[in-house]
């Protein structure tokens, strides 16, 4: 299901890596932790050399240096491939959930009843109508022209008024027109009238109609958004030939962003609705098809998070985190739900920490508290053959974000100490030569955190 994006198609994941790069990478990373690992590294080098020497001795017939090297390269490549095959499932796993399924048929775009628009109605008797030739039945295309050429917003600001039929028509055009130009222009139109202001809490334009959350939600439903998705059950249905969300989704995101920025003038969403919007945005972050829109999604997330009042935020933050945690499975996706919340404001940091925490609780089958989780993490035995380093990695990233993203948690000495002890265990008890998949990732991550963040 995790089809790579176009760029990634070229990236033949299965072709053997150039050996040089692999080695340099290991050394490079260890350089970073020079103090800690210089010794171990030397040991590794020695072992390698010894191995090469031994093998070389066995096959004396390869006198020619070049041939020897070629042969060695082949061997190493073979080993490398075996190793890769050994840990293939985990190494290639990517985050990504399809949160958009089949699109539903779009509602027909009715052009508004021109008779009910006063500003158009009054023009019918104008002498200029002999040139303009505006007729009731051709009103739709005329309005489209007014919109795409920017006259509609000029008229709105001149009259200080947006009539209901025009507002509805522009809204529907934005969400359901298949024409890029119309989507853009109507999105710009709505953005312009929403961001207009006379006073802090007043629009400079009287807007007769505002969409409600249900309108936005049903648009999302039409686009095929899977309100009841869960990342675990998604893989089977991936073969369905759906094309993903329509381009209108961009206008949808932008519109929601604009709505969230105007709470002082009009509260478009209720608290519960705003919570759902944050959840939806996080879900979109999980869909690889949205990678190119991360700027747009980030802005929207930021605006929606700031939409809440201080009183609402504490409980809303927890609600969102709980909702997300019970939807994603314990794989890279749950890391993605955390990392998609960029730490631009204290609220975003808080949300990030909360999602990480709820994910952890979920991973540990509803453990009673974070302390319990850290205790069990601390007690993990890395030498145990059954130790699942992939899970360990996920737990490590989640714990990191839970503890370090929120100053509230970071300032708790007990939790902080436990987390540090866990990091120390990871970085010192996992052997550098442990070849199990994700073992080195856990070790590197822990050492990195110890070095830079603790």
């Amino acid at each position: 299901m995790d089809d790579p994006l176009d760029f990634e198609v070229e990236d033949d994941l299965l072709s053997p890596l150039p050996i040089n790069n692999k080695r340099k990478k290991v050394i490079g990373l260890d350089d970073l932790l020079n103090d800690h690992y210089k010794e171990q590294d030397k040991l590794l080098e020695k072992q390698n050399k010894a191995k090469k020497k031994a093998k070389a001795k066995e096959k004396r017939k390869y006198d020619d240096e070049d041939r020897k090297e070629a042969w060695l390269t082949r061997i190493v490549e073979k080993c490398h491939n075996q190793l890769k095959a050994f840990g293939e499932e985990n190494d290639i796993s990517l985050w990504g959930v399809k949160v958009f399924g089949e699109q539903k048929p779009f509602p027909p775009l009715d052009s508004p009843d021109l008779g009910s628009c006063n500003f158009i109605q009054s023009f019918f008797n104008n002498r200029l109508n002999s040139v303009v030739e505006l007729a009731v039945d051709k009103g739709g295309s005329f309005l489209e022209g007014l919109l795409t050429n920017g006259w509609l917003s000029k008229l709105a600001f001149l009259s200080g008024h947006v009539e209901k039929p025009v507002a509805i028509w522009a809204f529907n055009t934005m969400l359901y027109s298949s024409k890029e130009d119309l989507q853009n222009s109507s999105s710009n139109f709505w953005h312009a009238i929403l961001s207009s202001r006379r006073e802090v809490d007043q629009f400079s334009v009287k807007i007769d109609w505002f969409p409600e959350y249900t309108d936005l939600r049903s648009a999302l439903d039409t686009y095929g958004f899977l309100f009841k998705f869960s990342s675990s059950g998604e893989r089977e249905s991936s073969d369905s030939n759906n094309e993903g969300p329509p381009q209108n989704i961009r206008a949808w995101i932008r519109f929601v962003t604009s709505c969230c920025l105007i709470r002082s003038k009009k509260a478009v969403f209720s608290t519960v609705e705003a919570e759902e919007i944050v959840e939806i945005i996080i879900c979109m972050f999980l869909d690889r098809r949205f990678q190119g829109l991360s700027m747009l999604l980030n802005d929207c997330m930021q605006a929606t998070v700031d939409y809440f009042t201080d009183q609402e935020w504490c409980s809303s933050c927890e609600n969102i985190a709980k909702f997300i945690a019970c939807r994603v499975s314990e794989d890279l996706n749950c890391i993605q739900t955390v990392e998609c919340v960029s730490e631009v404001s204290s609220r975003c940091k808080q949300l990030r920490s909360a999602i990480a925490y709820q994910n952890l609780l979920y991973c540990f089958n509803g453990a009673s508290s974070g302390e319990v989780i850290l205790k069990s993490l601390d007690a993990s035995n890395f030498r145990d053959k059954s130790c699942d380093f992939f899970k360990m990695y996920i737990h490590l990233v989640l714990a990191e974000n839970w503890v370090l993203s929120s100053s509230l948690v970071e300032d708790d000495p007990v939790i902080y100490e436990m987390f540090c002890s866990f990091l120390k265990n990871c970085s010192s008890l996992i052997s550098a030569t442990d070849l199990r998949s994700y073992a080195s990732k856990v070790r590197h991550k822990a050492s990195y955190l110890l070095h830079f963040s603790i």
Partner: protein
């Protein structure tokens, strides 16, 4: 994060440059490498923007991020590096006016320009030994661009956008271009606000243009390419883009349907934003031209400020040369002040000047406004000759767009006057404008009875008539 030791922590450790070495070696062709780079970007963000009194990353780190933007293969990485660069630019401005936030000082003391001299720049611009450096601006290295590679970038944009299929790689170039415009803007706008030519002339934008101008044809062709990018983008976004993707889609395997959806979402968004960026770039250059002209009149320019054809003139030539570009360019180039300037100059180039007046008389320059141009249409012979010279369609487009720009400027001043109470005056100016516009169109129609009124002309007439009925 308020913890003071936190800052210390980062300062002590920094991000070791050694860490970067790992980034340069391997290409991001496997997911592991992509993950590592994303982790790197996150770490840079946390250590600079994430901290309360964080410092900008070192040049080496900046270089590494920029390298990822230029050479990245995965969409995730390209977008992430672009976003980080843009955020860093916002967070650590390369130039700003001191005391902007301080309302007390704004009254009398002039605001001082503060420039982050040592800031890393994605453009290599040395006035002194341009030739010595320009050799190294190769694309492979993914390093900063020199003036000639900036030109190459714009050229590539034109090329890739006019191809029948839009390549995925153009997302990268478009984002790179957008980032460069943000950098130029961040440097130019505060400098230009000082109204001091010695500061304005040192702006990255001016230096970039001077270096282009060292071979004069280069500068002109660069500007022409810029205009072309705008027109191509306008056409692309106006037409049904899905057709373009259809071609691409059929050639793709079933498995990449998914990436197709992701890419087309990203591509359209990027195209739309690139259009805005290009518009910004042109507006900045026009503002720079104006500042230069002003400095010239006041005698602040020196021989080092080699003369350059103003961008408005180049645009006018371009529009006159290929009439097909007129509707696209005017539609996208929505900035009222400069749009009006272009329309007025275009019209006045072809309006027959009243023969009674001599060149020296001051009346002529006064008339060279949009209102003046509208009045000229009351003269039937003049109207006939201008239709003959530039064609009825272009006349209509110019009038409609000029009207729109003038309308924006008037309502802007009206909005400002509202506080002072000059509403009546503004309203009557608006009605006058609308009436003059309508009579110009009447005269067009009566001069050439077969002339077909374009839809934009109809829309403009409708707006004018509606505005009159609202205000009177």
């Amino acid at each position: 994060m308020e913890n003071p030791s936190c800052n210390e922590r980062w300062k002590r450790a920094g991000i070791e440059d050694n860490m970067l070495l790992t980034m340069f070696d391997a290409s991001d062709t496997n997911q592991d490498a992509v993950d590592e780079r994303i982790a790197f970007l996150d770490a840079v963000r946390a250590s600079s923007i994430g901290l309360e009194r964080g410092k900008p990353p070192t040049s080496k780190i900046f270089g590494a991020i920029f390298h990822m933007l230029r050479t990245g293969k995965s969409l995730q990485l390209i977008v992430a590096s672009y976003k980080l660069l843009v955020d860093l630019e916002k967070h650590f401005p390369r130039a700003y006016l001191s005391g902007v936030d301080d309302s007390l000082s704004s009254s009398n003391s002039p605001r001082k320009l503060v420039v982050a001299e040592e800031a890393w720049s994605p453009l290599i611009l040395y006035l002194d030994n341009a030739t010595a450096v320009s050799e190294t601006g190769d694309k492979q290295s993914g390093g900063p661009l020199d003036p000639s590679s900036f030109h190459v970038l714009i050229g590539e944009l034109v090329e890739s956008l006019t191809e029948s299929e839009i390549q995925a790689a153009s997302v990268k170039n478009l984002l790179l271009f957008q980032y460069l415009v943000i950098v130029l803007e961040g440097d130019f706008i505060p400098r230009n606000a000082t109204m001091n030519w010695s500061l304005q002339r040192e702006s990255l934008l001016n230096v970039l243009l001077i270096l282009q101008g060292s071979r004069k044809t280069n500068y002109k062709s660069l500007m022409k390419d810029c205009v072309e990018v705008i027109c191509v983008l306008c056409q692309l976004l106006q037409n049904d883009l899905s057709k373009k993707f259809e071609v691409e889609k059929s050639s793709e395997s079933q498995s990449s349907k998914n990436c197709h959806a992701g890419l087309s979402l990203a591509l359209l968004e990027v195209l739309k934003n690139a259009r805005v960026s290009m518009k910004k770039l042109l507006v900045m250059i026009m503002a720079l031209d104006m500042s230069r002209k002003k400095a010239d009149i006041e005698g602040h320019t020196s021989r080092a400020d080699s003369p350059r054809t103003p961008l408005v003139d180049i645009v006018l030539d371009e529009l006159a040369y290929s009439k097909d570009t007129v509707p696209h360019f005017l539609k996208i180039f929505s900035e009222p002040k400069w749009k009006l300037e272009i329309v007025v100059q275009y019209l006045w180039k072809y309006i027959t000047k009243p023969s009674a007046r001599t060149r020296r008389s001051s009346g002529c320059t006064e008339d060279a406004t949009f209102d003046g141009a509208l009045k000229c249409f009351s003269n039937k012979n003049g109207t006939k000759s201008i239709i003959k010279k530039i064609g009825g369609d272009v006349v209509q487009l110019l009038l409609a767009h000029g009207f729109q720009a003038q309308l924006s400027i008037l309502s802007e001043t009206n909005a400002n006057d509202n506080i002072g109470g000059g509403r009546e005056e503004g309203g009557s100016a608006l009605v006058d404008l609308c009436q003059a516009f309508i009579s110009a169109f009447d005269s067009l129609k009566s001069t050439d009875r077969d002339m077909e009124i374009l839809s934009i002309g109809k829309e403009a007439l409708f707006t004018a008539a509606t505005a009159i009925s609202m205000k009177s």
